[in-house]
Amino acid sequence: MRLDYPSNVKIIKLPCTGKVDVIHILKAFESGIDGVYVAGCLEGECHFLIGNLRARKRVEYVKGLLGSIGINPERVEMYNLSAAMGTRFAEIAYEMTEKIKKLGPSPIKTKKGKEYPIKE
C-alpha cells in the first residue's frame, strides 16, 4: 500500500488490546507523551472474544482519571479497526496527531497547570 503516517506515532505491539492496562497508559503520560490511542480489532471480532471491549473500558477509566487531575481526557482514545484496514490505520494516525497538536504539549511536560475542564 505504501501508505505513510505521521512519524511521531510510536507503535507498541501487544498480542491483544485486552492486555492493555490502566497503568500502561498512565506510564506513557507520566513519561511525557502528549497522547495515547489504543487500536484494537473491530468490536465483535476479537480473537479472544472481548479483549477489545475490555480495552475500551480501561481507556474510559483512564479518561476519567486524567480529567480528575486536570489533564484533557481527549488525549487518550480507543479506535477499532481490522488488520486489513491499512488506509484507516493511516487515517487514524493523522486524525489523532492533528487532535493532539491542537491540544498542544502535555501539561505534565509544560508544567502549566490544569488544562481541563476547559475554561470558556
Binding site: 490502566v22 497503568i23 498512565l26 507520566e30 487531575i69 489533564i71 501539561p107 508544567k111 497547570g113
Partner: protein, 223 residues
Amino acid sequence: MIIAERKPIEEIIDMIKDYKKIILAGCKGCVAVCAAGGEKEVGILASALRMAFQKDGKEIEIKEVTLERQCDPEYLEQIRGIVDDYEAILSIACGAGIQFMAEKYTKTPVYPGVNTKFIGVTEAQGVWSERCQSCGNCILHLTGGICPITRCSKSLLNGPCGGSTNGKCEVDPSIECAWQLIIDRLKELGTFEKVYMNIIPLKDWSTSRDGGPRRIEREDLKL
C-alpha cells in the same frame, strides 16, 4: 471481605498537596480483592498523583509499598526502617488498616486514600454488595441464611413490611426485599412453617455498636 472505594483524586490531592515525600501504602488483603487498595491500585494512584503534581510544576516523591496486611502489627513493622525518611503516609487499606498504621507511627501523619464501605461479597467481577453489619449476634439460622439486619433497609426482625412490592424494597426498586428472599428461601428449604411462624424476639443490640467499640480477647491464643 471489607469493601472499599478509592476517594476522589481531587480530595486525595488536597490532603497531600503540601508534601514532597510520601509513602503510598497499599494492602494485599480485602482492599486488593475489591480493587481499591492493592498493589495494582498503588501503582495507578501513585502515577496519577505524580502527574497531578508535575503538571503544576511541583515534585513529589512517592514510595510505593503494599503490605501483606495493614491490620496486623508484624506487617506494619516492615516499613519502620523507612517511615522517618518520609513526611506522610497515604494509606489505601481499609479504615482499620489506616488507623492501625497511624497508631504504630505516631510521629508521621497518616491520610486515608479510600472510603471504607461495608462487609460484603463479590456478586460479579466489579460488583460488590453488603452482606453483614457485624451486629455481633448472628441470627442467620432463623432467616434462611439471609441477614435481615443488613439486607432489609429497616433491619426488621419480623418482616416484610408494607413497603415490599413484587419482591423489591420501597427505599429503592433495585434493592431486593430481604424478607421476600428469606420467605422464598425458607419455602425452598421446606422449613417455612416451622421457622417463619416463630416471632423473633427483640434483639439485644449491646453486642453491636450500641455497646461501644468491641474487643475480643482469647486467653488460649495470647503469648
